[in-house]
Symmetry: C2
Subunit: 372 residues, 2 copies
């Protein structure tokens, strides 16, 4: 194998692959990336066996060929090279020579045949706006669980559905048992592949987010044989789905609440951040009390003191007192976009609904904490 490629291009592709690769793997080959040169292109593949990323770019190919080489070291080396043409050559025993001007590196490679095979591409993809999908991820990913003993909660549920007006939506839902986040966005067509719904693991969905981060237009989405795929330009990312069924989340969402309170989102966010400074470090309990024309937040830490903040709101119902984990509340407020939120409360024990007042298709449910 022998290629020539611009340092900046090569470095960017190698950089992008790093987060997929495990830093310390029990199998040495998994600390590597796969380089394949053919027909005027280089293909760079990275996998941790669950997540797989393939990137292709045109370059000068002197001799086609392939090699596996340390993902981290190759990136460290290429990143530090001057902005000039870099040559990569594979010699006997898989030694990889990286050259740029009067700079030469030799890195020990491994046979390309030892690299895990990358998943085959599905036949059909669905076009979807990158920014919309990325924001859907950001609005749900934080509420997925880290508890590996309930594996079905450690991902985000993705499903298509059609409402009574026959409009199609793509839905993402996540919950860790303490809170739930759910977002719907219109689908141009009903693809069918997400009728049953799939659970995308957290790390993999994070990679989707990163892939879509710099993009404006549409990307291509597919599900096939237990994997979810995203394709954009010459890059393809796929993740193994969680092989389990998602719980009946709809029963967690209260169909009715006693009262809605509308509050300025940023004011509530700032107040919660302040008051939570003196909440219990473990539980992060903040008590919210809605009384006539005001919402009062309080906290109490046996060691560091107590805090109180009052927000002016329109509220005409009988007083309600409810306690939350401030961290859960803050995470939801941070990913909402609207100026105001609507807080649906019933009493101190019933689940509380948080809606973005400017986005009817996003909601969150937070379970209150029991207080005396």
């Amino acid at each position: 194998m022998e290629i020539r490629i611009a340092q900046e291009t090569f470095s960017a592709l190698l950089g992008r692959a790093q987060s997929v690769i495990e830093r310390k793997s029990t199998r040495a080959i998994l600390e590597n990336i796969l380089l394949e040169a053919y027909d005027g292109s280089i293909r760079i593949s990275a996998t941790d066996l669950r997540i797989a990323l393939t990137q292709e770019t045109p370059c000068l190919v002197g001799t086609p060929g392939a090699v596996a080489v340390s993902a981290r070291k190759l990136h460290e080396v290429v990143r530090e090279l001057p902005k000039a043409e870099v040559s990569v050559e594979v010699k006997e025993n898989q030694w990889v020579t990286v050259r740029c001007g009067k700079i030469t590196f030799h890195l020990p490679g491994m046979p390309a045949e030892d690299y895990p095979s990358m998943p085959p591409l599905p036949d059909t993809f669905l076009s979807f706006p990158s920014i919309v999908f990325r924001r859907m991820i950001e609005k749900t990913l934080f509420a997925a669980s880290n508890d590996e003993s309930r594996i079905f909660l450690t991902g985000v549920f993705l499903k298509e559905w059609v409402d009574e007006k026959n409009e199609a939506f793509l839905r993402m839902v996540s919950t860790d048992g303490h809170r739930l986040a759910m977002v719907d966005r219109p689908l141009p067509v009903t693809p069918g592949v997400f009728q049953v719904g799939v659970i995308i693991p957290k790390k993999g969905l994070g990679e989707f987010r990163t892939l879509l981060e710099p993009l404006d237009g549409d990307f291509e989405l597919a599900a096939s044989e237990g994997r979810l795929y995203a394709r954009v330009a010459n890059t393809c990312l796929s993740v193994t789905l969680i092989d389990s069924s998602f719980p009946n989340y709809e029963q967690v969402i209260p169909s009715e609440v006693k009262t809605w309170v509308r509050i300025n989102r940023v004011s509530l966010l700032n107040a919660l951040r302040r008051v939570s400074l003196l909440s219990d470090e473990e539980t992060r309990t903040v008590v919210m009390e809605a009384t006539e024309d005001s919402v009062v937040l309080t906290s109490d830490n046996p060691r560091f003191g107590d805090a109180r903040e009052e927000l002016e709101v329109e509220y005409r119902q009988s007083p309600v007192r409810i306690a939350f984990n401030a961290g859960y509340f803050l995470e939801i407020l941070r990913v909402m976009d609207g100026e105001d939120i609507s807080l649906g409360i019933t009493d101190g024990l019933a689940p509380c609904v948080v809606r973005d007042a400017q986005d009817a298709r996003y909601l969150s449910v937070i379970m209150p904490m029991r207080i005396e």
Copy 2:
């Protein structure tokens, strides 16, 4: 005690005090700062018993008084408040009430009398340019040792001296036994207090650097009763000096070297950074070989491969081969300012001198590593 102060002013002063305070102290009072209100000013003092920082600023004083309160919590609270007037009031049992609009915090305080007394100010100070002193710190601090068993090497030696032309200089020297850094800068007068020389501990000197960071003009420097003081506007910082004598560093600096090689500093810095990527992780050994018209850097890592880079230089002597810890070399090159450096080499075993070609008053010595 009762004061009113602008949030931004208060937050900045509290923020500045954080690095002095120990996060976890065996004595609870040392996690606190001391607030003292008197005559239209607030004085904020912080100490870890070795480093002491006192800041004063005018504010509205309703009732004079003093209290000690958690440095970290008070800062967290004040930092999150809106940009408005903040009131601080001390009530019975040292409870501190911080109020801003409809926001109220109560923090448990401790009696001001329990706070360690701050060191008294010396009578005379020496004026010295802030930027010059800060750069002197940056040019030496990295070479001081972390080895607590040789306490006299864990600080930077500060001394005044007069040359044969009767010009006075302030000198900083540091060494950890493997490398040495020494900088001289002209003194307007000969203060006398640094005739013997003092050893400033690393952490304390880092605080001096931070204090001087944003400043342009002169600051005031003093040494008295085992402490070094820096005063600027309404802030005074002092540190306990290391009570030991500094070794005879002058004998480490070669009076003569066999040959000088002039190299572009940034080119050498970049080359070393690259080649060191494949050096042994532990020793970071990079071999430098000066041959006719070139300097070649090489490294070899049993696991990750090898690297080689050639730099063009003017060199007319017989070839020399010398091995270094790349990390030591990189640290020195980073704090030099000139376009070129001069490398004074004798052979593979003798100490190597690194000079900033544009600054005759800064030099570094690096001990080579033995190679076969």
